[in-house]
Amino acid sequence: MRALIVGGGTTVYFLCRDFASKGHEVVVVNRDERECVRLARQLPATVVCGDGSDASVLGDAGARSADVVLALTPNDQDNLVICQLASLQFGVPRTLALANDPDNVAVLHKLGVPAFSMTDVVSTIIEQRATTDQITNLLPVGEGRVIVTEVRLDDASPALGRSLEDVALPANALVAAIMRDDDVIVPHGSSCLNSGDRLLLVTQPDNHAAVLRALTGERR
């Protein structure tokens, strides 16, 4: 994959390092000359110095052959324009913008640019971690509209010994898999829940807490 990343700071540095180590080709665009020199020294990546929302800079950075453009600058308006230029002018198939202002996730979506908010992602993780320590994994997908969670059932779970259809899960929530010992069970309504089971849950932000309550009980 050829990724073009516009932005700077430690997040971009580690992201580039991670991408490069996975064998992806990375081009970084940054407008600060000194940061460019530093990034070029530290990363096995091509570094282009310039304004990423300038079409000629994007062109020089190889936007035409990029598979994905990530706009991670601290300004939402720049991230919007970078992604729009990338897709409109250079036909980049996938773009993703950082929305520094969480309100702008919806705004950018409506303007045709997929976006995510660090604040939303981090606050979701912190909130969920704070409510129960049985959550071992949590992944917001679909721009945070869907949450994939792994939950372990302990002896205090009100769902033990009951079948899934007896556990009153809220609508639009799913137990996608039960991991029991070495087995992975794709459950039916009649599948029973045991202590020690690890469940893979697919929920939404508005029913997530209720699903956790039904499976792990009231906590705190």
Partner: protein
């Protein structure tokens, strides 16, 4: 229209209807536009993140001044942009103007939206998205060119 008859919407035939106009960016261009529109009897809100720029508004400016970053949805809402008849984005940042213009047009449905864009390359792309832009560079270049060619023609005519 005399200055003491405040125009009203749907007023007598022939009267210019009052427009509700949001001017984003109150620099030299924005303050001039906001002042002129206000003098013509329109309701104007001027937005800038630097309150010092409001000093550039004419002394008879009767509209609202709103301090804030127009790239934030909340600020445009506070300016009642969804109710505006027109929005003009004139900040010094092309990308702010382009974002504000798109939000006004595509999210708030403001009927008349204009953005100043300095970079002619960027202007072309956004023309394709249906965003009306004015590029000072292009406008000035056209004016200079026509002035130069007309001047040359006059010189030729004057030559013996």
């Amino acid at each position: 229209m005399s200055s003491d008859t405040a125009p009203t919407e749907g007023g007598p035939a022939g009267a210019t209807p009052t427009l509700y106009v949001v001017v984003v960016g109150c620099g030299r261009l924005g303050s001039r536009l906001a002042s002129s529109l206000s003098r013509q009897g329109h309701s104007v809100v001027a937005i800038d993140n630097d309150p010092a720029t409001f000093g550039d508004l004419a002394t008879d400016f009767s509209g609202f001044r709103l301090e804030g970053d127009a790239a934030q949805l909340a600020v445009l809402r506070e300016a009642k942009a969804p109710e505006a008849d027109a929005l003009i984005a004139t900040t010094h940042d092309d990308n702010v103007n382009l974002m504000v213009a798109q939000v006004a047009r595509n999210i708030f449905g403001v009927p008349h939206v204009l953005a100043r864009v300095f970079d002619p390359k960027r202007e072309e792309v956004y023309a394709r998205l249906g965003i009306d832009t004015i590029c000072p560079t292009t406008v000035a270049a056209d004016l200079f060119l026509s002035s130069v060619t007309e001047g040359a023609a006059r010189l030729r005519r004057a030559a013996p």
